[in-house]
């Protein structure tokens, strides 16, 4: 079985979630990856560590930004050219927008939020998360070609392979695919991407105002964590929208989620319920979040967080 993986690049680096997708694909069969836009050959070759035999590189400068239509065209062309039965991608805000189009182009059955390898004992059945992590469905794909979008942090990254062969790959991309003109990009520099993070520290209304976020940021920095927030915090513009964790915001699945001053409305829990461990710090012992937590501390954030930060620094030193 041959498998194609769509690699996403972030500031020239292969995203962690793409390495998860490659590791997943390599367990299915002979894996080729495709990377779009400017990229360093050594970085692309490192996809071999995760199990890619080959990386097709479309070094077209027009693809340096994540553009939905040309990306879909290029991924579909790579899938066709490699004769891939399966296309694998990480689930992400860009990949979602791209692979729906690829599925329609190829007539491929598409399953998103995949959490485990397929069961091929009777057809092709994959397990996926549904209802924002509150349940799972085992979905049978009935088409010859298949596309799987893998939930982040669901698959362990393999790192035992050698370098992949990097080959130039050219795709005819018509000018009308580039009708959308990106006029500005705003990006938090150097931060750990929230959807990809292994550890997330989130703050809620209990922090009383945006000027108090240093305690969250300090703890996040000690843990090497991304920062998140609850919906009210993002609605009040205390924090940017891309930090909003929950049902209608970013869904995270880190190994450790630390919630500070967040009561734990069911819509927030829906965004964090696939975390491996949850720590809740809240001064209200009745906060519903404690019921979803592994570890809980009843206490004032401004008292507990600095102490916890110091203790963590010593433990991690």
């Amino acid at each position: 079985m041959s498998v194609l993986v769509f690699i996403e690049l972030e500031e020239g680096k292969i995203k962690k979630s793409s390495r998860e997708a490659i590791s997943y694909a390599a367990a299915l069969g002979e894996t080729t990856a495709v990377a779009l836009g400017n990229a360093d050959a050594a970085e692309l070759a490192s996809a071999g560590a995760n199990g890619a035999a080959k990386v097709l590189h479309v070094a077209d400068d027009r693809l340096n930004a994540g553009l939905i239509q040309p990306y879909a065209e290029a991924v579909a062309a790579a899938a066709t050219s490699t004769g891939s039965d399966i296309v694998v991608t990480a689930k992400s805000s860009l990949a979602d927008a791209v692979v729906g189009r690829v599925a329609a182009k190829l007539g491929a059955g598409l399953v998103s939020n995949v959490t485990a390898l397929p069961d091929t004992s009777n057809g092709f059945v994959v397990k996926r998360s549904i209802y924002t992590g509150k349940a799972f469905a085992n979905v049978s794909i009935t088409t010859d070609k298949k596309i799987l979008a893998i939930k982040k942090n669901a698959i362990e990254i393999k790192e035992d392979g050698g370098d992949a062969a990097v080959e130039a790959f050219s795709v005819e991309l018509a000018g009308d695919l580039f009708g959308a003109n990106i006029t500005a990009t705003e990006k938090a520099e150097g931060d750990i991407l929230l959807p990809e993070a292994d550890i997330v520290v989130s703050g809620g209304r209990g922090l009383k105002g945006p000027e108090n976020w240093a305690v969250i940021e300090d703890l996040a920095s000690t843990l090497g964590a991304a920062t998140g927030c609850s919906k009210p915090v993002s609605d009040m513009d205390w924090r940017p929208h891309h930090e909003h964790v929950g049902q209608t915001g970013v869904k995270v699945s880190p190994t450790l989620y630390v919630a500070v001053g967040i009561s734990g409305a069911i819509q927030h829990l829906a965004g964090v319920n696939s975390s491996k461990y949850i720590v809740v710090i809240n001064k209200d012992e009745e906060a519903p979040f404690f019921k979803a937590a592994d570890y809980g501390i009843v206490g004032d954030a401004f008292d507990v967080l600095p102490k916890l930060n110091e203790a963590l620094k010593q433990a991690l030193a």
Binding site: A65, Q69, I130, I141, G296
Partner: protein
């Protein structure tokens, strides 16, 4: 301006999720159904765009008759007419195909929907519809301004956002803060009763996937409480028991 808004009919965000019939069917017992929250943002923005530019809003749902109250609510919020494709929305491709077929029957300047449904969270339908119609598609869109034949939109990317200028028509998957949810007023509710809701049969029955079975995650263990004066205990547990730091 002619806008098609596609809505899902989904369990309320506070629903307890359970399955029946040997884990092959969703248990609707006691579950309140709503307009998908992301679709609700798309609808709210459509109503604002109509207020600014004039035009017509058609709301579309692929679903069975139990969707009708949800569709009436969308009419009460401000859609002018509704179409329901009378079929169980079994698969993202099936739904996208129905939307594309309906869209071909009208001259729509904008096709809006939520970035994803909140039952299956796939987030794939807008792209499929765009491809099937040969139109650009954008998602997740958090701002949308229309000026004549072009639009300025803001798309969320991981860790930030990007601004785009595009020509109409296109397909957009929407999310907050594109607009505030609108609550129907009494006049809207009254007028919704007489607005047209046309039921059509599906154009094509092709689906690419089917659900073999559902399952629920294992139950969460009991929380271990730690004294606020003993944060060291938490550090030790994270390091030695959970092994996450």
């Amino acid at each position: 301006m002619n806008i098609l808004v596609c809505i899902t009919h989904v369990p309320d965000t506070t629903s307890r999720i359970a399955f029946t019939n040997d884990n092959t069917e969703f248990d609707k017992n006691g579950v309140q159904f709503i307009i998908g929250p992301y679709d609700d943002y798309a609808l709210a923005r459509a109503v604002e765009l109509k207020e600014q530019n004039g035009g017509k809003i058609t709301v579309l749902n692929v679903g069975e008759a139990d969707s009708d109250p949800t569709i009436r609510k969308a009419l009460a919020i401000g859609a002018d007419e509704a179409i329901r494709v009378n079929a169980f929305p079994s698969d993202s491709f099936f739904v996208a195909n129905q939307i594309a077929e309906v869209a071909k029957q009208g001259e729509y300047d904008l096709i809006l929907m939520g970035r994803e449904s909140i039952d299956f969270n796939g987030g794939m339908v807008h792209g499929m519809v765009g491809e099937l119609l040969g139109l650009p598609s954008f998602s997740p869109v958090m701002q949308l301004e229309v000026e004549g034949g072009s639009a300025k939109l803001t798309r969320e990317i991981e860790g930030g956002k990007e601004k785009l200028e595009v020509s109409l028509p296109f397909v957009a998957g929407c999310q907050e803060p594109i607009a505030e949810w609108k609550i129907p007023n009494m006049r809207g509710i009254m007028s919704a009763r007489t607005k047209p809701l046309n039921v059509v049969e599906p154009a094509d029955n092709t689906a690419h996937t089917s659900i073999a079975a559902y399952e629920l995650p294992p139950a969460k263990g009991v929380v271990k409480m730690i004294d606020a004066d003993n944060v060291q205990e938490l550090v030790d547990l994270l390091k030695n028991d959970a092994k996450v730091i």
